[in-house]
């Protein structure tokens, strides 16, 4: 289990990470969200042992992360961290040897993963000759080939088509099943909603949301009602106290409301119209993200 306890990191006057705490259990996928410059990279670097926090500590299975323990961690960086002049085999051998694997195991595992990603013919090709998507697959293989206890994924789906996204997703789920703790970061909120049971939202180094995805969504007061039907009095809807916005998207009305209670008042207005759909849904993570980050900046 990864335990991050009250870590703070300053660069001069700038506080990059401010008293951040969270835990990632075995076999759990944890989302780390934040706008650019929110402190995600610094947090990853502290977890990887690349930076010492000014205060607080990070432990993996109760032990401080050092160069022996870092071989149990896999890291997919946001920007591709591959030496493009090397061949796929040389690159994987390089990183996997640093993780403590022997040559025979590396060969076997690499063959398995190349076959899994349907690119066995690229084993002896130079990285620079591969497409962006295939480079991303190699980067992913380099991070998981040693079967890490902790996997950090920073934008792992960059440059991938839906088929390859699915292949990587399945591989991540398989690692989760084996008990790997996973930290996932992406600006594409649908991936976070898809993957993460728990998440943290960082703004200016501080956690402004922390908890399970379900709790966060439920606790966020604003909801959306999707209504499909004919003869709906839109003007009347707009007059209801607590209705923030009404917009028509194709043949549906999207009504944004301030709290869940407003939904019953809206229903009273539309119940006599010829409606075929009335759905009260939680705000999307994307909406929560924009609203929360916006609040802090205001």
């Amino acid at each position: 289990m990864l335990k991050v306890e009250g870590i703070t990191k300053r660069y001069g006057e700038i506080v990059a990470v401010d008293n951040l705490s969270f835990t990632v259990a075995k076999g759990e996928i944890f989302g780390l969200l934040g706008e650019n410059g929110a402190g995600k990279t610094t947090t990853f670097r502290i977890i990887m042992g690349l930076l010492e926090p000014d205060s607080g500590k990070v432990t993996l299975d109760g032990k401080k992360i050092d160069y022996d323990l870092s071989s149990k961690i896999g890291f997919v960086t946001e920007e591709r961290s591959l030496l493009t002049k090397l061949t796929v085999l040389e690159q994987i051998e390089f990183y996997a040897t640093l993780k403590g694997m022997n040559k025979k195991d590396i060969q076997e595992k690499l063959d398995y993963w190349l076959k899994y990603f349907e690119i066995p013919e690229y084993k002896n090709r130079k990285i620079k000759e591969l497409s962006k998507g295939n480079q991303q697959k190699i980067q992913f293989i380099s991070a998981i080939i040693h079967e890490p206890k902790l996997l950090i994924l920073d934008e792992p789906f960059t440059g991938l088509d839906p088929i390859n996204v699915k292949l990587i997703k399945d591989a991540i789920y398989s690692l989760k099943e084996k008990g790997c703790s996973i930290i996932f970061s992406s600006h594409q909120m649908e991936y976070i909603e898809d993957f993460c049971e728990k998440l943290i939202l960082l703004v200016k180094g501080k956690a402004i949301l922390n908890g399970s995805l379900q709790e966060i969504k439920e606790s966020y007061a604003k909801k959306t009602i999707l209504i499909k039907g004919k003869n709906i009095d839109i003007a009347a809807l707009k007059k209801v106290k607590g209705v923030i916005n009404v917009e028509k998207i194709r043949d549906e009305l999207k009504v944004s409301i301030a709290t869940k209670d407003v939904a019953s008042q809206v229903f009273n207005i539309v119940k006599d119209a010829d409606i075929t759909k009335y759905d009260v849904i939680d705000a999307s993570l994307n909406e929560i993200f924009i609203a929360k980050v916006g609040e802090v900046h205001e």
């Binding site: 960086t77 920007e79 961290s81 591959l82 990183y95 640093l98 380099s142």
Partner: protein, 427 residues
């Protein structure tokens, strides 16, 4: 951790040795050295003669041929000139004159005793002209003295070379006048490969660190090994590489020497004055057994310090242009060291050059040079080694801090500003 250090070192070394550029460069070097050692044989092969003697034909209208020939032999190397007397008329000789021939006409003069005419197909090189002039002046003096009816015994004494008894008070001086010639002609050639290896070393270490940083693979590497292990593995691999390259250069010289022997052997001496170099080493006596190891230690330590500085500077860069900017001072330092070494004889024991010989980066060029010139002692060389060891220690102590901070720094502020910030950073 040791295992990872040796793995990184091996990987970095193999990357250099197995590159096609290493193989191509070494083929070019081997060919160039063999050509240099056998240049006269090659010129001969294409119809020229690098060792051809200059043939001096004398038309003697002053009955002075014997004196002139004797004087010329005294002033010039017999291997470079041949002299003969001709009775043919001047016009015929002029018409048949070859490019390696000179026609000298000696005429008697009632007032000047001797006048002469020098006829050549092309311009005469300065050295040959000076030798002929000296021989002619001496011949004129001898004729003048004979005309003045000076006693032959007195004349012989006047003409004889002066006896000079030499005493050198400073017994550490290991030089003679040959040294200036060696320093100005052979020495730059000998230290040039070393200078080039330093440039090679700086670019290798810097380029590799810069590449790992710009591709962001540094984050993965540094999460598995400490920055100290990473830097030292690069430094060690590069140093082993340049030492291997030095050994290969020596091997190429041996091959070139063997080839030159196979081709007749004479061509080698015209390219390098080995006899003079060996005579200098001979003068050093037993000191040579101390000087050579100290020089080798100085070279290895200097390679290390250049490589460490290159690595530290490269850690501050975010692209190769930045690195080129940062490596300029190191390049200038090594160029300064090279030229100071070449011109060391001109400083003739000045305090300035002596102090410079202790300064790291420069000491490797200047210290051995000054020792060969007899301007410093072996203790000065040992002092340079000690200063260099101390410098490397300080470099590692403070430089590793900069390296650790620099390799993960991608800020786009000015590169020198990043360097100074890194000095102040705690972590």
């Amino acid at each position: 951790m040791n295992k990872k250090f040796w793995y990184l070192t091996k990987l970095s070394f193999n990357k250099k040795v197995k590159s096609k550029w290493f193989i191509i460069t070494n083929i070019i070097l081997l060919v160039a050295i063999v050509i240099l050692f056998n240049i006269s044989a090659i010129i001969e092969f294409f119809g020229g003669d690098f060792d051809a003697k200059t043939n001096i034909i004398v038309v003697d209208n002053a009955n002075a041929y014997e004196i002139f020939a004797s004087n010329l032999t005294n002033f010039a190397d017999n291997e470079d000139y041949s002299i003969s007397k001709s009775n043919e008329d001047i016009e015929t000789l002029k018409n048949n004159l070859a490019s390696a021939e000179l026609l000298i006409v000696l005429n008697s003069s009632p007032t000047e005793y001797l006048t002469s005419e020098l006829i050549s197909l092309d311009k005469v090189d300065n050295l040959t002209y000076q030798i002929i002039l000296q021989a002619l002046n001496s011949t004129k003096s001898t004729i003048g003295m004979i005309a003045s009816d000076i006693d032959p015994e007195v004349l012989a004494n006047i003409s004889a070379s002066i006896t000079v008894e030499r005493t050198i008070i400073n017994d550490s001086a290991t030089t003679d006048e040959n040294m200036d010639m060696i320093m100005s002609s052979v020495f730059p050639t000998l230290i040039l490969p070393f200078f080039m290896l330093i440039i090679f070393l700086v670019q290798m270490v810097g380029g590799e660190v810069c590449e790992e940083k710009t591709t962001r693979s540094m984050e993965i590497i540094i999460s598995n090994v400490s920055p100290k292990v990473h830097l030292l593995s690069k430094v060690l691999a590069s140093n082993i590489f340049v030492i291997l390259q030095s050994i290969l250069l020596i091997l190429y010289c041996v091959i070139a020497y063997v080839v030159s022997i196979a081709l007749g052997g004479a061509s080698l001496s015209s390219t390098f004055d080995f006899a003079s170099i060996f005579s200098v080493f001979g003068q050093m006596g037993n000191t040579i057994f101390l000087v050579i190891p100290v020089t080798i230690i100085l070279i290895i330590l200097s390679f290390l310090s250049y490589a460490i500085v290159a690595g530290i500077l490269a850690s501050m860069t975010v692209n190769i242009e930045d690195f080129n900017q940062l490596q300029t001072p190191i390049m200038l330092l090594s160029i300064a060291g090279y030229y100071l070494a070449v011109m060391a004889a001109m400083f003739d024991g000045s305090i300035f050059i002596r102090i410079i010989s202790y300064i790291p980066f420069l000491s490797v060029f200047i210290s051995p040079t000054l020792f060969v010139l007899g301007q410093i002692t072996i203790f000065d060389m040992l002092l340079s080694v000690l200063i260099l060891i101390l410098f490397i220690f300080i470099l590692l102590k403070f430089g590793l801090k900069v390296y650790k901070s620099g390799i993960l720094n991608y800020f786009s502020d000015k590169v020198w500003s990043r360097l100074f910030k890194a000095f102040r950073t705690k972590n």
